[in-house]
């Protein structure tokens, strides 16, 4: 049963209206005879609907009262009037009443307008509830995600902090080992028969330094979003070849390279040097022949958008089943023969970050034992 508040300054009309509403099956909660009183009673009685005349004496007419009630209370208001001039209708419209009835009214019309207003209000409320519930769920979910995000940031910062600490401390410890070995080797009376043993330890210590450095670079790559620029790889490759020659001075190296032009540009950054260095150093390190021969060539990929840099070695080669895994750190830990430390993992990470690709083929197709061909493609700069 819906409760209705009737508002009209003419008590006879109000009473009639009340009577008609009752006949139509509604309950009335009372009658108000002015705008001010309507607001008060609405607050006090909280009816489901208000039927209100527009023209009333006092400071507030029906339109003013409807405006105040709509703003303060969630109660639909239907306006009643004997006059229907343009100006009044315009004012009435502006307070968004739930309905409008012209006097003299027809009972059936009252019923239709009242039913429509009540139905509309109910629908609005339902919609509001769904909306509120959705909003609640969204904010709950957002809060959850924020929490997860904070947790992730915390974990990441912590991992970075620990990695940094580890790098720093291992470097310090390694410095002690490295320098001690170095000192032993320069002592004039250090027995020759132990020198090789010390050299082995010395080389291992150097490997620790390299490993730490590579891990550091790898962590930078994994942070993503690196800035790229145009890089000329001709001087870069020349420099890397020099560097490898210097660091692998124990071996005789024949690294041939032939670049048709002086400027071959790709998109990348300073980590590109690590890419070329790691591939080349790897090729040299695993080669058991002396002299070590590596051919470096640069060509264009068929579709034209990429440069293709090839490093052909005559090392032990990579068997078919390992051609993918050499680039993946975790899968060949137990295979000493092909263990490359973090070198090739690093290469792949960096190249992919530059939107390029890297893979290995046989230097002579079908005969992997004749050496490998490491191929890098990079977008033209």
């Amino acid at each position: 049963m819906k409760n209705i508040l009737v508002v009209d300054d003419e008590s006879i009309i109000a009473l009639n209206l009340e009577e008609d509403l009752k006949e139509l099956g509604y309950e009335t909660v009372g009658i108000a005879s002015s705008g001010e009183q309507a607001i008060e009673k609405a607050r006090e009685l909280r009816p489901d609907l208000i039927l209100m005349d527009i023209a009333m004496p006092g400071e507030k007419d029906g339109i003013d009262a409807a405006e105040a009630i709509t703003a303060e209370l969630d109660i639909p208001v239907i306006l009643l009037t004997a006059y229907a001039d343009e100006e009044l209708i315009k004012r009435a419209k502006s307070v968004k009443p739930s309905g409008y009835i012209l006097k003299p009214y027809d009972k059936r019309e009252v019923r239709a307008v009242v039913e429509m207003a009540l139905y509309k209000k109910e629908a609005e409320r339902k919609l509001q509830r769904v909306h509120d519930e959705l909003e609640n769920r969204v904010s709950e979910r957002t809060a959850e995600l924020t929490k997860i995000n904070e947790q992730l940031t915390y974990e990441r910062d912590r991992a970075e902090f620990l990695a940094d600490l580890l790098r720093h401390d291992i470097n310090n410890l390694n410095q002690g080992i490295f320098s001690s070995m170095e000192l032993l080797l320069v002592l004039p009376d250090f027995p020759d028969q132990f020198k090789d043993t010390v050299r082995t330890a010395f080389v291992q210590s150097e490997c620790i330094t390299k490993l730490i450095e590579r891990m550091h670079i790898l962590s930078k790559v994994q942070k993503r979003g690196m800035a790229l620029r145009t890089i000329n790889i001709v001087p870069l490759l020349t420099r890397v070849i020099d560097k490898v020659k210097k660091s692998c001075f124990q071996k005789e190296l024949e690294i041939s390279y032939n670049f048709a032009v002086n400027e071959i540009t790709v998109r990348g950054n300073e980590l590109l040097e690590d890419v070329f260095y790691n591939i080349l150093e790897n090729a040299v390190k695993y080669s058991r022949r002396n002299p070590v021969r590596v051919d470096v060539t640069v060509g264009v990929v068929e579709d034209g958008g990429y440069w293709k840099i090839e490093f052909k070695d005559r090392g032990p080669g990579v068997p078919e089943e390992l051609k993918d895994t050499v680039f993946r750190r975790m899968e060949h830990l137990d295979r000493k023969e092909f263990a490359t430390g973090l070198g090739l993992t690093l290469v792949k990470e960096i190249v992919e970050e530059f939107s390029g690709t890297v893979w290995v083929e046989d230097r002579i197709k079908g005969d992997w034992m004749k050496g490998s061909n490491f191929i890098v493609t990079l977008p033209k700069g």
């Binding site: 470097n171 310090n172 390694n174 410095q175 002690g176 490295f178 320098s179 001690s180 000192l183 210590s205």
Partner: protein
């Protein structure tokens, strides 16, 4: 002979520096294990060392802060940064360090760097 003041929180490295330098005929004349100790010790030293070998990551005061304070006391102090934190190289040089050596360094790197700085220093002194 070059006189050296070693500042590093890692005792083993003091030992290493001592051996490397004394073997080369140079001398470690003082030790400090954190930045603050380095500043205090430097103030008291007389004569001052030719070179200060300065670590970065240390308790109380880091190498940059210590360098700043030491240069306030003695603008002519020759400070060589030796650190695994390559990222602080720029800051170290901007603060007034003469040189930066990255750990892991070789004996040759260290000795060449020291020799170079000492030669420069003596050249300037003789010109004055």
């Amino acid at each position: 002979m070059v006189t050296v003041f070693v500042v590093d929180d890692e005792p083993v490295l003091h030992e290493i520096y001592y051996r490397m330098l004394s073997y080369n005929g140079d001398s470690v004349i003082a030790h400090a294990y954190d930045g603050e100790e380095a500043v205090n010790r430097y103030k008291q030293m007389n004569p001052k060392p030719d070179i200060i070998l300065m670590d970065y990551r240390m308790p109380v005061k880091n190498g940059i802060e210590a360098t700043e304070k030491i240069l306030q006391v003695d603008a002519n102090a020759k400070i060589v940064f030796v650190s695994a934190d390559i990222a602080v190289k720029k800051a170290a040089i901007a603060t007034g360090a003469c040189s930066f050596i990255a750990k892991t360094f070789t004996r040759e790197e260290l000795l060449t760097c020291i020799e170079h700085i000492v030669q420069e220093k003596r050249k300037t002194e003789s010109e004055i």
